[in-house]
């Protein structure tokens, strides 16, 4: 019977593939990096670039001889930006290759889920530019590293930028700022700080949620047309960003009064709108599109030139590609730092890498030497500060490419720190976590 044959062949194939599958990548001296990506689904255009940058950097490190001789092995797992698939990927990869080094889920929803799991499995979680804002407090969130910036940093800088454009913080009084956000934990993160800042400076915050995936925004922009906010903050991801820009064009809302977060400021967001997005600004997580930087040249020479590049060559150096690349770099540098303490040329465990990430100290000289000159500023973490740096620039789309249009901003610690302490304290109470004391930090 045909069906039987079919089933039998399939079973035989599955079995043989199991038997011949290479033994888990557990060769000695390999530092295993799990790579959670989304190359399919509604957010694929953005996720793919990030993933390409991430993987290319790992390949670059290997091409340069590994981390003090320790080669990197990695495996991708597709999450499609879904929390349950992300958790499955985490469980699948955490034990592979002698134990996962660090997870970077690139999804705030998955980050929330993994925040509960990481302390049990003792694997650090880097969420560069996303995740829980209060996880900056390393005393409570021992395993989370929202390196380079959180959404609270983003919201604070956005308000600073608006104040500067208006000619001073005093001019914010009576202004209306609308937040058009992705209706998920990601989009909701900036709300508390915006409301707090609104109270301090006397501006009005309007909240306009957009449902996943964000292609339906007619009603939102109708509201904007009616209420005429002075500025629109765009907290979108994927197709939601380009849709918002198109709607802004259709309703005639001036694009130069729209400011996106760093996840709403990359090529896929504006490319299709091109001229229509001219004048639209977005925050940057320090870096913008950096096709001229040395690290990008290295990637092209040492990885892409040998035919090992992960994505299209012309996307190397674009904004989200750089984000992925820098995220990978932070993970790798965490391992390098850990090796300084626990033995150079050895494979580090998740726990050791956590120490490395917590004592990360990338000064400008190191960064320049690695090829990040002009791309980013120094990062220094500590036990209490898992963010390490809160520098932000603003770049503007000129119709064909992103250009920096502002100086460096830094988030106002006086605003953010109390909120972080309050929120993380609440979390610690709920979860009955005892915050680490400075003595415990030294261990």
């Amino acid at each position: 019977m045909k069906l039987q044959q079919l089933v039998l062949t399939a079973a035989a194939l599955a079995l043989s593939s199991l038997l011949t599958a290479p033994p888990a990548l557990a060769q000695a001296k390999e530092q295993f990096f799990p790579v959670l990506v989304y190359r399919t689904g509604a957010y694929a255009p953005n996720g793919t670039q990030w993933a390409n940058g991430y993987v290319d950097y790992l390949k670059l490190v290997n091409a340069k001889g590994g981390i003090n001789g320790v080669r990197i092995s990695f495996e991708e797992c597709e999450t499609a930006y879904a929390t349950d698939r992300g958790v499955e990927c985490y469980e699948r990869l955490k034990g592979k290759g002698g134990g996962a080094t660090v997870f970077q889920p690139l999804s705030t929803g998955v980050t929330f889920a993994l925040t509960e799991k990481a302390p049990v499995d003792k694997i650090p979680l880097i969420t560069a530019g996303y995740g829980r804002s209060e996880s900056q407090n390393g005393a409570v969130f021992t395993w989370n590293f929202p390196l380079l910036g959180t959404y609270w940093v983003g919201a604070d800088v956005a308000v600073q930028h608006i104040a500067k454009k208006e000619g001073g913080v005093g001019k914010l009084k009576g202004k209306k700022i609308a937040l058009v956000y992705h209706d998920s934990p990601y989009g909701k993160e900036p709300i508390p700080i915006l409301q707090e800042l609104g109270k301090t400076h006397g501006f009005d915050v309007q909240l306009l949620p957009v449902a996943h995936p964000g292609v339906e925004q007619k009603a939102t922009w109708l509201q904007i047309r009616q209420q005429k906010p002075d500025y629109v903050l765009l907290w979108g991801w994927g197709v939601m960003n380009s849709t918002a820009l198109r709607e802004a064009q259709a309703t005639g809302y001036p694009r130069d009064r729209m400011i996106g977060v760093w996840w709403a400021g990359a090529e896929p967001d504006v490319k299709d709108v091109a001229e229509g997005a001219k004048g639209y600004s977005a925050l940057t997580l320090q870096h913008g599109a950096e096709p001229g930087s040395k690290v990008v040249k290295d990637v092209l020479d040492l990885v892409h030139a040998k035919g090992q590049g992960t994505g299209p060559k012309d996307e190397v150096g674009q904004v989200l590609y750089m984000r992925g690349l820098i995220s990978a770099m932070l993970g790798v540098e965490g391992v390098r730092k850990a090796q300084e303490r626990y033995g150079k040329g050895k494979v580090m465990t998740g726990e050791q890498v956590r120490w490395g990430l917590e004592n990360l100290n990338l000064d400008q000289k190191t960064l320049d030497a690695m090829g990040f000159a002009g791309v980013m500023r120094p990062v220094q973490t500590s036990c209490l500060d898992h963010m390490g740096s809160s520098w932000v620039r603003v770049h503007t789309w000129n119709g064909s490419k992103w250009e920096f249009t502002s100086d460096w901003y830094q988030a106002d610690e006086k605003v953010i720190r109390p909120m972080v302490m309050l929120a993380s304290g609440k979390y610690a109470d709920e979860k009955k976590i005892k915050p680490r004391t400075p003595e415990e930090c030294k261990k």
Partner: protein, 358 residues
């Protein structure tokens, strides 16, 4: 040869009407349950527990709930994800707001809340039928999505709208390891499955089935549609709500409304359609098919590719997974429109005659 009932004489009504009248069935099921409780925890690693077995058990429970409503009572629902969400959020609120409330009680109260909401959204079923009812239940989905996103009270004013739970404990049993979680889900599932099976065999289940087969005729012979339909909604939502609480508390530990989106409703409906409408066993088959198969495909495809010396990209695997999954669904529905459960019983019929089929 081995599987036949010759010589098994049933001399009492009780023996004739038991769930598994054939001794081999009884022993096989008992062996499976014992193995699930004792053998599996000894054999299985953490990944299988966390990524496959626990979601499978929880979604089986939800599928049983949906099957009661769709398969036994014939009321198509697209609101299963909503009732899961209600169960999860209700259990969460009971858990954090009433200090010292036992965990199981929170789960059951979550289920009860879901049942109440289920009854409310079941009211349209008294007037509309079939696809129109499906659309009406879809309202439940959008309503709960909206409520849990917009009303901060339900999420304990969490700034991001995501809630989380930790330190699960039943009496002095700390539920921490995957094995603990698995055993908790398994125990609840076994109890609930037995309950569901018996419910469908007694008066209320017969009422549901009468309504499903022809509601006018059922009404003529004295079955109250109001009671039958709403009780099906209540029981179904109770099961689904409890499953939702388990999904949130035990599987995810931290969740947002997106975890119970309309996709989840579709997933559950597909489970019962593929598994077999009107069959408790079918719910398990359907859940296994929908939960396990995509993950298996996702892992085996690269391995199969390697056999032939092809390396498939991550995106390629994902696309292939969806394609093969879709093809399999169509294949099963053409080959056996009554679901995998019917295949199973046909298989058993054939086994009785084996090796001398006539």
């Amino acid at each position: 040869m081995l599987y036949r009932e010759n010589g098994q004489f049933r001399t009492s009504y009780a023996a004739d009407q038991q769930i598994f009248p054939i001794a081999q069935d009884r022993w096989a099921i008992l062996a499976i349950v014992v193995f699930a409780f004792v053998g599996v925890p000894l054999l299985v690693d953490e990944y299988l527990f966390r990524a496959i077995l626990i979601p499978f058990l929880i979604l089986s429970l939800a599928a049983i709930g949906v099957n009661i409503l769709v398969g036994y009572c014939g009321q198509i629902t697209l609101g299963a994800g909503a009732f899961m969400a209600v169960g999860a959020y209700a259990a969460y609120n009971f858990h954090i707001r009433l200090d010292g409330l036992p965990l199981l009680v929170s789960f059951l109260l979550g289920g009860c809340t879901a049942a109440a909401v289920g009854i409310f959204f079941g009211i349209p079923s008294l007037r509309v039928r079939g696809l129109y009812l499906a659309v009406a239940t879809l309202a439940a989905q959008f309503f709960t999505d909206w409520v849990f996103l917009r009303v901060p009270w339900f999420t304990n004013n969490a700034s991001s709208g995501s809630v989380s739970v930790a330190n699960l404990q039943i009496l002095s049993w700390q539920i921490e390891t995957p094995t603990d979680k698995y055993l908790l889900c398994l125990t609840i599932l076994v109890v609930f499955a037995l309950l569901a099976k018996n419910m469908t065999r007694c008066a209320i289940g017969r009422q549901w089935m009468a309504i499903r087969d022809m509601d006018v005729a059922a009404e003529v012979i004295g079955i109250r549609p109001l009671f039958a339909k709403l009780s099906a909604f209540a029981v179904s939502s109770f099961f689904v709500g409890t499953a939702g609480a388990l999904w949130g508390f035990v599987h995810l530990a931290s969740w947002e409304p997106a975890a119970f989106s309309v996709d989840r409703s579709f997933q559950l409906l597909f489970m019962v359609i593929i598994g077999g409408l009107g069959s408790i066993m079918g719910s398990f088959f359907g859940a296994a098919f929908i939960v396990i198969l995509p993950i298996m495909l996702n892992q085996f495809l690269p391995a199969i590719g390697r056999v032939f010396g092809i390396s498939i990209s991550t995106a390629g695997v994902s696309h292939a997974e969806l394609i093969i999954f879709g093809v399999l669904i169509i294949f099963f529905l053409i080959k056996e429109p009554h679901g995998i459960a019917r295949m199973w019983s046909t298989g058993k019929e054939k086994l009785r005659l084996w090796p001398f089929p006539h």
